[in-house]
Symmetry: C2
Subunit: 339 residues, 2 copies
């Protein structure tokens, strides 16, 4: 049974079944030309849109549909977290191939709605369309923040310490494991990994957006700059440094590389450090903190649900071509979408 | 030169060149993890997302890229108009095939930005991604409205008059003309229409969202229900009637069918009335008005930039299966996305 067996209205109704009851502030919900919402007093709004496309950001061959729904929202929540914003609402635009199984459609809705309810976010609207191309999902999210508590990329100064939440490299290793598993089993071989056991696979399939520590950092005004690592640590450090007009020096030995990812890359003859800093899909946060705020940062860490690791320091902008170094070497950049 | 010759950042910069200077209320614009905006006091927010996909909603073979950009935003502004909302901001998510010409990308940005500035709407963010599929654009728009002035689909009562803005059928005829022109010239023949002359082609390529009359109707609280005609008049009347729990009776002779479209369909042996009510792409508004508000409606019409035509009346919900009739006959329904 595919989505072509249903009308657009049927599919919207199926999606809605997974959603929590509408909140008070939703004046007009799904089913009209647009949603109408009350705004929150004394808060600025934080808005972002991000999309996932089958064959580019995931592969239906080895990513289950509920994980696709989870990821489509998680990448956006990560952007809100990086601004210190509390998630509020989302709009979901899906382009579906005609032969797309309706069971997979339901599972996408379920994965997305489950993550939404974890963060108290409500899906207020969306759009469904056919496509002659691959499945793709664009999610727009709106969060709220006190205007002076929004975390930008541009506030770092020379001397600020750089921290990373959680661990890096896990998602990239998990993606390789899944690909390997899909290829091996497709050719009738025995897979090298048991997927259920791997923390890396879980990191890839169901990234945890760092919403809690992001809002804590904003509220306590501890971070001078913040951004997320969607395109890898190397790319994030470069961008934060460029936006702030500083250089950065990272300490390779300090990086919180996921142990299972380190082993995986080493076993493949790939340098774990390079893989961990250049590959994407780690939805962690990179944070710059003035050294004098160390004590306030410690208080945030005590209340956070994820560890924070010091990985380097911001420097004055050097005269050399590459303003960002790791262990003294210019750092190769991350994933680039088009080139 | 294609988009693959550029980085994502280069493309974002190219897009930005077409945008108006950022408004005061935009606290953080393009270039951070998300946009941060001040909300408007005493206003509710109206949010919607809609998408266009090459091969489904338009065809790059005969729709120029600036018209694609125009359309991608116009379909959303039409939804805001149908709610009585004033456009405020948009987020633009584009999926680009690798071989997409960068000149066409610029033209899309130009078409979208030109329409945005017409309505004082600012593009505050977006997303660009590659796709192995066709070009697609999802636009999310946010507008503002006084909470009690939002126009819903559900407020019509039996006895309310039904009105339509502008004219219908033009866009559908224009689409056929463009297809015909593309086919004829591709096979070396001489096209039957001179495209530059046709009002229908212009209606298809550059729909005018009915923002002005939508906000006037909201502000004057004249409409008991309103929605836009994106999927055709038949579909809109059905949906408005269903949401309001009424039936509807349309008068075929009263319908404001675009004269050039009437001629075109007749010359093709297609019933102009059927074509005009069942085909989509007319971004007009369908409005229900209590008969006692006729004088207030006349005042709105005097200030509007588009004519309004009475096309029928809402009735009590009949016992028959089809609650919507035209000239006494059950009305066939409009375009359905999936089935």
């Amino acid at each position: 049974v595919t989505v072509s067996d249903f009308s657009e209205r049927d599919l919207i109704a199926r999606f809605q079944r997974h959603l929590a009851p509408p909140p008070d502030w939703l004046l007009v919900g799904i089913g009209d030309d647009a949603a109408v919402v009350e705004t929150e007093r004394n808060r600025a709004e934080v808005l972002t849109v991000d999309g996932v496309v089958d064959g580019i950001h995931f592969d239906r061959a080895f990513v289950p549909p509920d994980a696709i729904g989870h990821r489509a929202l998680a990448v956006n929540l990560s952007d809100l977290a990086a601004m210190g914003a509390k998630p509020r609402l989302a709009l979901v635009a899906m382009a579906l191939p005609a032969e797309f199984p309706v069971g997979d459609f339901d599972a996408i809705a379920c994965g997305l709605a489950t993550l939404a309810s974890t963060y108290g976010l409500h899906v207020v609207g969306g759009n469904l369309t056919r496509t002659p191309g691959p499945l793709s999902i664009d999610v727009t999210v709106v969060g709220t923040v006190k205007p002076r508590q929004a975390l930008r990329r541009s506030g770092a100064r020379a001397g600020d310490d750089l921290y990373v939440t959680g661990s890096i490299g896990g998602a990239a290793a998990g993606l390789e494991m899944l690909r390997d598993f899909a290829n091996t089993t497709a050719t009738g071989g025995r897979a090298a990994v048991s997927l259920g056991d791997s923390s890396c696979v879980a990191r890839y399939l169901r990234p945890d957006p760092r919403v809690r520590i992001g809002t804590l950092l904003g509220r306590n005004r501890v971070a001078s700059a913040c951004m997320d690592l969607s395109d890898g640590l190397a790319d994030a450090v470069r961008q934060l440094a460029a936006a702030s007009g500083v250089g950065a020096r990272l300490d390779g030995a300090a990086l919180p590389i996921e142990p299972a990812a380190r082993d995986w890359f080493a076993s493949r003859g790939v340098d774990p450090l390079t893989a961990a800093v250049t590959r994407g899909d780690d939805y962690e946060l990179l944070i710059a903190v003035r050294p004098r705020l160390k004590r306030q940062l410690a208080a945030v860490i005590r209340h956070a649900d994820v560890p924070l690791t010091r990985v380097g320091v911001c420097t004055p902008l050097p005269h050399a071509e590459d303003p960002v170094t790791i262990d003294g070497q210019p750092m190769s950049s991350g994933y680039s979408h088009f080139r």
